[in-house]
Amino acid sequence: MTLAEDNGPERGGDDMFAAEYVLGVLPAEERQIAARRIDTDTDFARLVDGWEIHLSPLAAAYPEIEPPAAVKPAIDRRLFASTATTSAEAPAGLWSSLAFWRGLAAAAVAALAIYIAVPYLNPPAVQPQARLVASLAADGSDVKYLAVYDAAHHEVGLSHVSGERAAGKDFELWMIEGKNAPVSMGVIPAGATAHIVVSPAAQQKLAQGAVLAVSLEPAGGSPTGQPTGPVVAAGDLKSI
């Protein structure tokens, strides 16, 4: 009898399993089972979060110990070995807007919901890496789009969920990759669904999981090549 089998169907069995995982007492195999369930079972993940929160005050007893100076460069080598550049300053502008960040958090929640739901909607055999999805939304705005990047067809499909453009205005779609300036992907045609063709230069950046944002612009799109109106929806692309 393993610990997991003994977990049994009794009420609260999952909750105890979550508690044991958080406490750290389980053997390796049981921990792997728990970790897999966190990724695939939102109810279980919530139980784990609950115990992490309950027990987190105990972490106050961990002392702060400065790690050796060599650790950070080693991390950077692991992550960024191919890029020679060092960190530059942070992007400014809309990135420092609190509303934008709140919206992004909301979008991430929605994106995760899709991330979880999509495997059940699509047969898994169809090129799983070829599609990325993003739920675009922002705080203080009722504009919501669901975006799917189809790498095979070089296009972004947009499904309009809610929010209307004001008279004489257009929604424009932007791609933001890393700290670079937003790149326009074009004005979003009105309608329930829209398809926007992606330029070869943008394809690779999208495939790596860029952020998509929608701004409100004068009819016909931004006259400057950069967003001029408020960002009404944004979200990052995730593979499904």
């Binding site: 750290g24 389980l26 970790a35 002392p63 110990i65 952020v211």
Partner: protein
């Protein structure tokens, strides 16, 4: 740094902002190294683990948005779980006495104050309601990541007895926390 500041750094890290990631490392690496070192009890292994922890943070920062944890608790959870996974993967516990980590638990620092408060008083109050040795087992398991097998050996009881014992304590704890 307030928890809100750290939250912003994590969210910016999720957007692959390296400046934010660098700052996040500067602000939190000492705490997370403390976690790795305490669990692994081996300096070299803890340094290795800390690297892996920050690689994970860079890759998984977007997951923070769907978690209910405070930012520091979320980071500590990554470091703890990673260190515990590592210690479970190795066969024998390190006998690295030189790590000299048998220090008494210090008073909570400024970092701890961030997570302290009602919730903190609550867990300590609820642990106090348990029998003394059981509360100590829960605290020890949390801080050092001891396994059921190690706990059973130390207390000289069969593994399943240890497990029943600890589960009962966890159930009592939950009842108390939900009161």
């Amino acid at each position: 740094m307030t928890p809100q500041d750290i939250t912003k750094l994590i969210v910016r890290t999720s957007m692959k902002d390296r400046a934010a990631f660098d700052l996040l490392y500067r602000q939190t690496s000492a705490k997370l190294f403390g976690v790795c070192l305490r669990v692994l009890n081996d300096r070299g292994e803890a340094e290795e683990a800390l690297q892996e922890v920050f690689v994970k943070i860079w890759m998984k920062a977007d997951r923070f948005a769907v978690s209910d944890l405070s930012p520091i608790s979320w980071l500590v959870a990554i470091a703890r779980n990673h260190s515990i996974d590592r210690i479970r993967a190795r066969r024998k516990p390190a006998a690295d006495i030189d790590a000299a980590l048998d220090v008494a638990d210090p008073a909570p620092g400024p970092e701890a104050m961030v997570v302290a408060g009602d919730e903190s008083e609550r867990i300590h109050h609820c642990l106090d309601e348990l029998e003394k040795d059981r509360a100590a087992a829960v605290r020890g398991a949390y801080l050092k990541g001891e396994s059921y097998a190690e706990l059973a050996e130390r207390h000289g009881v069969p593994l399943n007895t240890m497990r029943t014992w600890l589960r009962r304590s966890l159930m009592k704890l939950r009842e108390c926390l939900e009161r």
